[in-house]
Amino acid sequence: MAVVADRQIIHETEIRPRHYLNVNHSFWSWFFTTDHKRIAMLYLGTITVFFLMGGVFALLFRLELMTPEGDLFQADTYNRFFTLHGVLMIFFFLVPSIPATLGNFLLPIMVGCRDLAFPKVNLASYWIFVFAGMFGVGMLASGGVDTGWTFYAPLSTHYSNTSVFMAAMAAFFAGFASILTGVNFIVTVHKMRAPGLTWFRLPLFVWAQYATGIIMMLGTPVIAITLFLVALERVWGVGIFDPAHGGDPVLFQHMFWFYSHPAVYIMILPGFGVISEVIACFSRNKIFGYHFIAFSSLAIAVLGFFVWGHHMFIAGQSVYTGVVFSLITMLVAVPSAIKVFNWTATFYGGNVTLESPMLYAIGFMGLFTVGGLTGLFLAAMGMDVPLHDTYFVVAHFHYVMVGGMVMAFMAGLHFWWPKMTGRMYPEFIAKFNAVIVFLGFNATFFPQFILGWLGMPRRYHAYPEEWQVLNVMSTAGATILGFGFTLAIAYFIWSLFYGERAGNNPWGAKGLEWTIESPPTTHNFHHIPTVTEDPYNYTGREEVNVQQ
């Protein structure tokens, strides 16, 4: 980062030529930084490392699944690979991805303040995350863990010989990093808004982050205590989930999913926020149904807590409880569906251009639609029975998590990269890459829907021969997907050094973040702005400010 030269930037209106990246180059200025933008960049670097690690594990076990016999790796190794893929991707990539990077960077700017409400807490959140990451590395170094990312008792508490303790503690501490981020976001949105920035002038990204913050604050502690109990049981030798003295493994699942289902919304809601911004910008149009999208984020955050039991229809849960959970699950699907319709309607009457963020956003809409619709299969109780714990579920949540969240993350990263670094990435390669990722993704996960309907269970190291063709397709797709993400990382890093300089507002976008310098100065604004207009005020004569 520190290499970015600043000498060429001469802004006429600029009083201080320095920005947040070059204000101080010393190690400690990064280590102890309380600047939300620097913390966002630190987070971005860290989660990229974890994303790569998780991705490598995914590729390795996809390679294993090329052949039905399970001959490339031992079953033990395979089990560790998919567990590590899950643990790293969920706790160390998906949960912090958009909130801790884009959210951290943009939220204070979008609400028009100098920093998050508690900058030191924000820094603490990052270092707690790194501390958790050290447990994660410890878990890898001590041979990994093979319980699946769900840590279901009593396999995790008594029967696994791997370092479940390390994994549980890693997720435990990563949870606290997430809680602190959430608390910071909520307070910032409530208390730090610029004058004139009423709730309904907030960008939808902020609404999404606020809703995410609520889930992080109320949901994460429950997984923390649950994993703490698992870790305790490993150390102590006895525990509350042990059936030997009356413990109930199903209770573990209740406590686990109380967080882990809302966690799905931690992972997808920020994506909704990003997509709203990107679609509005590149359609150059007011977002259709602003209020609805804003409130639906909150509705999803709240209702998302009432649906966890749909993971447990056939796990020994009471049927009546299952019925309630199924009903609410159907209802929580509705706001998501309407969001997709609203985004589509935003195109109407706009001036649509297809830059790379927009391509990713369109990819998101397609893939998320598939992910959401296949969720209906699983939410209908009777239909869930044959599909539960098969590759259908795997495909479904990858369509939501990768097709949804990761695509949204890519869209957001491309969209705000010029703002974050002051540099443009190579646009043509980025567009090409969006197509690669989209195709690679579908090739990887679409066959898994069919595999799931055929009955292939999850987490299988060896499988009957007739399923090989579909698995080979999936592996081939994974390779393409892996290539796509590697290419993206490569050109982002390239752009840091050689990218064209971006102006303050390369996309001609609306929003407070585009009114300040790229990259922003340490405290974002020279004067706290007073907001006088609604968000997405693209209609009317457009002021294009493309500096190319």
Binding site: A75, N79, Y152, P154, L155, Y159, P243, D248, P249, V250, S283, N285, K286, F288, G289, F313, I314, A315, G316, G322, L327, A333, A337, F341, N342, T344, A345, F347, Y348, G349, G350, N351, V352, L354, I362, G366, T369, V370, L373, T374, F377, A380, M381, G382, D384, V385, P386, H388, L454, P457, R458, R459, Y460, A462, E466, W467, L470, Y538, T539, E542
Partner: protein, 324 residues
């Protein structure tokens, strides 16, 4: 090449539940396809129609259509509720066991399924059932969570330690259908499967009468651990009431009278049928006489099991894996 492309995409349905679930699945698939293609086409068409044309400076104009928004709020809600009802009705069917179901007990452990039929007939991993009659499995796990899943029947159910769960289905086709453990249960999760054999009732009855189709070792283990309870004395720990039988077969045994004997089939048989005859040193003659209770096959099975104890030990030493 044609062979390579000839892979299944539609699973076999072989139960009454499959007949009920499949229509919902295909309807949902149709609906999803139409919606996905529709939305994607919508996006593409809109992006094309409203694309920014070079040189044309057309101000954007936002769509304002509350009726439209209301429409696509209400319709998904109704569809969602409809799906919920359909799913719940299906589930109701899935859990309500019909009268006269065949009762079968299943015990899961890492990594095998032990099945016992009503008449005491046992099998491991496989399940033999008659066609056209509801079958109810009552299941429990001895260690971790497992899941009994038969894709062709479209059923599955978690098997939980410390709790009974059950599962029923009514097969409609004869044949062999694969069965899987569908809840991740540790190292050999993917090998913890078997086959469900659906037979004509006549064939099933014959099979049921045919005696245990299990290996002699397995049958012996059942006698040893469960039916006869030998294991209560021959626990294998020091201080037990009976001698440890691990690594006995083929080894010399010191007797109470000071002499010693090689524990071969002959000696083992004698020890079972007339235990007091030649007592092992340091033990008291407590063991009851089994001569009236066991037939020759049982004894052979027991001996096969005792043999296997020794062999297992040897195998484990060879592979270097320490016994737990």
């Amino acid at each position: 090449m044609s062979n390579f492309l000839n892979f299944p995409i539609i699973p076999v349905g072989a139960s009454t539940f499959a007949e009920k679930v499949d229509p919902l699945f295909y309807l949902l698939t149709l609906m999803s396809t139409v919606l996905t293609v529709g939305i994607f086409m919508g996006i593409v068409i809109m992006a094309a129609v409203f694309r920014k044309k070079p040189g044309v400076d057309r101000p954007s104009q936002a769509l304002h259509a509350p009726i439209l928004e209301l429409t696509w709020t209400i319709i998904p809600t109704i569809v969602g509720l409809g799906l919920f009802v359909w799913g719940a009705v299906l589930f109701d069917d899935y859990i309500k066991v019909p009268e006269g179901a065949l009762q079968i007990d299943v015990i899961a452990k890492q990594w095998m399924w032990k099945v016992q039929h009503e008449n005491g007939m046992r099998e491991v991993n496989d399940l033999h059932i008659p066609v056209g009659r509801p079958v109810k499995l009552t299941m429990m796990s001895q260690d971790v969570l497992h899941n009994y899943a038969v894709p062709a029947m479209r059923v599955k159910q978690d098997v939980i330690p410390g709790r009974y769960t059950s599962l029923w289905f009514e097969p409609t086709k004869t044949g062999a259908f694969p069965m899987f453990c569908s809840e991740y249960c540790g190292t050999e999760h993917s090998l913890m499967g078997g086959t469900v054999y659906v037979m004509e009732p006549q064939a099933y009855n014959e099979w049921l009468a045919g005696g245990p189709k299990v290996s002699p070792q397995e049958a012996g283990r059942f006698l040893f651990e469960e039916k006869l309870g030998c294991v209560t004395c021959h626990t294998g720990v020091s201080g037990a009431r009976g001698p440890d039988l691990k690594e006995v077969f083929g080894h010399a045994v010191k007797l109470a009278d000071g002499s010693s004997v090689t524990a071969d089939e002959e000696y083992l048989r004698e020890s079972i049928m007339e235990p007091a005859k030649r007592i092992v040193a340091t033990f008291t003659p407590l063991m009851p006489n089994f001569a009236n209770q066991l037939n020759d096959e049982d004894v052979a099975n027991l001996i096969a099991y005792i043999k296997s104890l020794t062999e297992e030990e040897v195998v484990e030493v060879e592979t270097g894996a320490p016994a737990p």
